[in-house]
């Protein structure tokens, strides 16, 4: 802090902010204040942000206490302008003639009005700035409360503002009531509910320490660390490790003001349930942290993150309560698990006829029958895939949707189908394929790990894409209710990463046929192509290289096209490739300018008898030495061959002047360059490359 700057603390106290929204809210708040300070021309140092379930705050280091004085300049008429014009300018600025300044500009000598603008005190700007930011805060969902019209994620109770160590006058207009700014924070709801005076807080660390003293860990990352480390230590003591991932740990951190970890135990009889069922009950539904043995086996222990301080008697009550809830949940799961297995998976198929897939796309039973056929078709293009197992898995993949466990735990669809298929003595390959057919569910998810699984996963996604596009339910803008973008990216990832060479056209046509459509929707291929371009770009291949590798070719064999893009990227990065590109650019640019002069394209042909320089002869021989036709499949080989042209092209441009005085020699040379252009374009669309 200095005479020119002071620290600013803004803290909002509201009812529990949903865990999933907390991190974003903290960063939004910091960003919005940074933007507002920039717009108001207020310098500042670091902005710290904090969030806990009922606290949302920013602490700004060294915020300027007033805006810098500035000079507003307005250009008037020329010095020699008529009196009338100058008088008009004086009137508009409210200045006198002697207050104007004369200045030379490249356009002549002008009169200027300069007014010094005194900067406004920050304290005077803050109330409006704070109100604007809170009033327009970008919550994913917000609400009204009481008799006011203001919207916040949940009812907002206090806006605390401390500038330079003391409170700031101001109020938030709630639309029907005013909420004056205060300086009273609050501690843990149950452990330290008394007010906390924020005046005199001297740093971001001070603020966090003050709240910590009242049992609120207001820094989310600290709560996450406490939970992560606490769980790790408890696991180590039990001879196991943490299984729960970071996302869930962050979510549990959003549910507590002060984490306190307790260890619970799963009853033996429930350990016979599939690990996935245990995981769903314990982690997804109860938000406990699951543990696993060093061999990956599901541990009978789990960690409850409570929101109370340690107290042996109370901890015992809390733990007993949580265990009882979990017991009821697992007893339910156990009941359904046993019930579901009474009948073979196949017996559930008829009931799929009761579930509509989508208006115009039949029932889920219809989908199962389409998947049976399409999975078999696709399996034919996947080396090592057993088409019969793929077909069977396609047919049974959706049968678990009507089972009890999936009714309770929808996130286990597919996985339960795999268990029930195995229990019904289906082929292992069939069961494994059913388990994994929803994968990949996102960019971080693995592909199915069996050939049949890949076939069914592709069939499922392709059937969905062809179907929804076929009935006009395409994604629009940000709206993609059927997750068709994810389905398309899934198809692309599987084809590329599992190196599956199949004709997309043929497969989509077959899928369309099974839907009873006459053709594939016109917008589907461009949609997949766009996702494909994006995914190639995401792998680090420059967009112009992607464009050059894909050219205007029909998108058909994704795997092949991805290989081409990668090969071209590698080639262009090599010395030969870079050199060849220099030659390509010179050839292309000469051809372009001469063709526009002559108003005609030069045919790719040349007459060796008109060669004057050996550089022409050598370039011609190099062209002749190229294979008659390049293979679409092996771009590497084609590029290696083209790479051999680099030296003759370089020499040609060093030693030969294309525009010879003799028109015949000139045209012959342009014909030779046109041959270079034709052969290169035969490999990739180099014209799409930039710079």
């Amino acid at each position: 802090m200095s005479d020119q700057s002071a620290d600013l603390l803004i803290e909002i106290i509201c009812e529990e902010i949903p865990a999933r929204m907390q991190a974003r809210a903290a960063s939004d708040l910091a960003r919005l204040f940074a933007d507002a300070f920039a717009a108001a021309n207020l310098a500042h140092d670091r902005i710290h942000s904090f969030v806990a379930p009922r606290h949302l705050a920013v602490y700004v280091d060294g915020l300027a206490v007033r805006q810098q004085d500035s000079i507003a300049e307005k250009r008037g008429p020329r010095v020699d302008a008529p009196e009338q014009a100058i008088n008009g300018f004086l009137k508009s600025t409210g200045l006198t003639r002697d207050q104007l300044v004369t200045e030379e500009t490249p356009k002549g000598t002008f009169l200027f009005a300069r007014t010094e603008m005194k900067g406004t005190a920050t304290a005077a700007l803050l109330p409006v700035m704070i109100s604007d930011i809170l009033t327009n805060f970008p919550w994913p969902k917000s609400q009204r409360w009481g008799a006011t019209s203001f919207r916040w994620v949940r009812p907002l109770h206090r806006v605390n503002v401390v500038f330079g160590g003391s409170g700031l006058e101001g109020a938030l207009d709630l639309g029907g009531a005013n909420l004056p700014f205060t300086t009273a924070s609050t501690g843990h709801y149950f452990e330290a509910p008394a007010d906390l005076d924020l005046t005199g807080v001297g740093s971001a660390d001070d603020y966090a320490a003050l709240l910590r003293g009242a049992h609120v860990i207001v820094d989310q990352s600290v709560r996450v660390d406490m939970i992560r480390k606490g769980a790790k230590d408890l696991a180590a003591r039990l001879g196991c490790e943490t299984k729960t991932g970071e996302t869930t740990i962050a979510e549990t951190a959003g549910l507590v003001e002060h984490p306190h970890l307790l260890v619970g135990t799963i009853e033996d009889r429930f350990m016979l349930l599939p690990a996935e069922v245990l995981q769903s009950s314990i982690e997804t539904h109860q938000k406990y942290i699951t543990l696993q043995g060093h061999d990956g086996s599901f541990s009978p222990h789990f960690v409850v993150v409570s929101n109370r301080l340690a107290d042996d008697a109370r901890d015992a009550v809390i733990l007993a309560g949580n265990q009882r809830v979990l017991r009821a949940r697992l007893a339910d799961a156990e009941f359904f698990w046993m019930e579901d297995k009474r009948e073979p998976l196949e017996a559930y198929l008829p009931r799929l006829a009761d579930i509509a897939f989508y208006e115009g796309l039949g029932t889920v039973h219809d989908k199962a029958q389409r998947l049976e056929k399409l999975a078999a078709d696709i399996a034919a293009s996947i080396p090592g895939a057993d088409a019969a197992c793929a077909a069977r898995a396609g047919l049974l993949a959706k049968a678990d949707l009507v089972t009890g466990v999936v009714g309770e735990f929808p996130e286990l669809q597919g996985i339960m189908g795999g268990f029930y298929a195995a229990a019904a003595d289906e082929d292992t390959a069939t069961a494994v394929a059913i388990t994994a057919h929803y994968r990949p569910q996102g960019p971080d998810d693995n592909l199915p790990d069996s050939a049949e699984g890949l076939a069914v996963a592709l069939a499922d996604k392709i059937d969905t894409l062809v179907g929804f596009f076929g009935v006009g339910a395409r994604p629009t803008g940000s709206k993609d209710p059927f997750a068709l973008r994810r389905a398309a990216l899934g198809v692309i990832r599987i084809l590329i990463e599992a190196n599956i060479s199949l004709s997309l056209h043929d497969t989509l046509r077959k899928a369309a046929g099974y839907h009873g459509f006459a053709a594939i929707d016109d917008e589907l291929l461009p949609f997949i192509r766009e996702r494909f371009r994006v995914s190639l770009r995401d792998t680090g291949i420059a967009h112009d290289v992607v464009a050059a590798a894909l050219g205007d070719s029909e998108l058909d064999n994704i795997c092949l096209l991805a290989d081409r893009a990668a090969a071209l990227g590698t080639f262009l990065g090599s010395e030969n490739g870079a050199g060849l590109m220099t030659g390509w650019r010179r050839a292309a640019s000469i051809l372009k300018s001469e063709e526009s002069k002559d108003k005609q394209a030069f045919a790719p042909k040349t007459d060796p008898s008109l060669f004057v320089n050996t550089a022409e002869t050598d370039l011609h021989s190099a062209l002749e030495a190229l294979p008659v036709a390049f293979s679409d499949i092996d771009l590497d080989a084609a590029l290696t061959s083209l790479g051999g042209m680099r030296t003759p092209i370089d020499r040609f441009f060093e030693e030969v002047v294309v525009n010879d005085d003799n028109p015949k020699v000139r045209d012959n040379r342009l014909g030779l360059l046109a041959m270079v252009r034709e052969r290169m374009l035969g490999v990739a669309d180099f014209s799409k490359l930039e710079g």
Partner: protein, 309 residues
């Protein structure tokens, strides 16, 4: 069924209910009795659905509402699921600034001291497609167990709520099981009277009803009759709303009837997935019409209501 479990004084089922009523009465609520019709949840009671919209700026009410969920019937065999259970419902409009404190106080009043447990407010947005209603709030967890639904209503019948009501819904059986520390709903001590003095447990009172109604809900209800009743209720509701002076309250009775008939048809498994959405839409249309008629009537002043008294 025979009563095997006798709970601590004041924690039996009927004491919990009485204490909740007494608590909310002490906070200024009008204590109402259950609405005399079959409904799926306490929200359907006109004291919530209609009063959330108007005409009073202030409306505070609390009541117990027997709730019927035909598809949740388990023939008395599941320790946690019932096709008939009790919801306790509180509605405070406008939502008070100390809503959470008031709520936690109600738990203390029924023997569940929040200070002795781990209470959480876990995000849960509420929506009723049949009522065209939604709100934001939480499910309240006590030691990992959901004990209440806490909602700030934003819309009912497609109409914005202004002021905003606070709705609290307690699942009484579940709450009582937690308080009494038992795992089977049928074991709940109902009256705090020992078995040898004629005391009753939940099962003594309701087990037979669960068995018989499960059979009716799932197998014996005459579906053609239910369909006819549904159409009749729908038509009557429409007719009452189309009157020159619409009769909002009688129309809303028919809307509740239609909603429950739909639930019964659903339990009988005669409504396909696609039809389901259409039926919900039909009930919502009725609910919206009733809400609009109710607000419209409210604009004319309260003579109609006064005349009823």
């Amino acid at each position: 069924m025979a009563k095997t479990h006798l709970t601590t004084e004041g924690l039996d089922f009927q004491s919990i209910l009485l204490n909740l009523q007494r608590y909310w009465a002490s906070k200024g609520a009008v204590i109402l009795q259950p609405y005399d019709m079959e409904v799926g949840a306490g929200t359907f009671h006109p004291a919530t659905t209609l009063r959330a919209l108007g005409p009073d700026h202030h409306w505070r009410a609390a009541y117990v509402q027997p709730s019927r969920r035909p598809t949740d019937g388990r023939f008395g065999e599941n320790p946690n699921r019932l096709q008939h259970y009790y919801q306790f419902q509180t509605i405070f409009k406008p939502s008070p600034p100390n809503s959470q404190e008031l709520y936690l106080g109600s738990l203390k009043a029924i023997g569940l001291d929040p200070a002795a447990h781990d209470m959480r407010f876990v995000e849960d947005d509420w929506e009723s497609p049949t009522l065209g209603a939604w709100g934001l709030g939480w499910e309240v967890w006590c030691d990992g167990m959901e004990v209440s639904q806490f909602t700030y209503f934003q819309q009912v019948g497609g109409i914005e709520c202004a002021p905003v009501p606070l709705e609290l819904t307690y699942g009484l059986e579940r709450l009582a099981m937690f308080i009494q520390g038992i795992d089977n709903v049928y074991d709940l001590d109902w009256d705090g009277v020992p078995a040898d003095q004629g005391g009753k447990c939940y099962g003594d009172i309701f087990h037979r009803a669960e068995v018989e109604f499960s059979g009716w809900n799932f197998y014996h209800a005459e579906t053609d009759m239910l369909l006819t009743h549904f159409r009749d209720a729908e038509a009557e509701c429409g007719r009452l709303l189309a009157l020159e002076t619409p009769l909002a309250l009688p129309a809303y009775d028919q809307c509740m009837k239609a909603s429950h008939l739909f639930n019964l048809l659903d339990a009988r498994g005669v409504i396909s997935v696609t039809e389901r959405a259409a039926y919900i839409g039909r009930v919502r249309t009725l609910a919206k019409g009733c809400c609009e008629a109710w607000i419209g009537a409210a604009d004319d002043g309260q003579q109609g209501e006064a005349a009823d008294v």
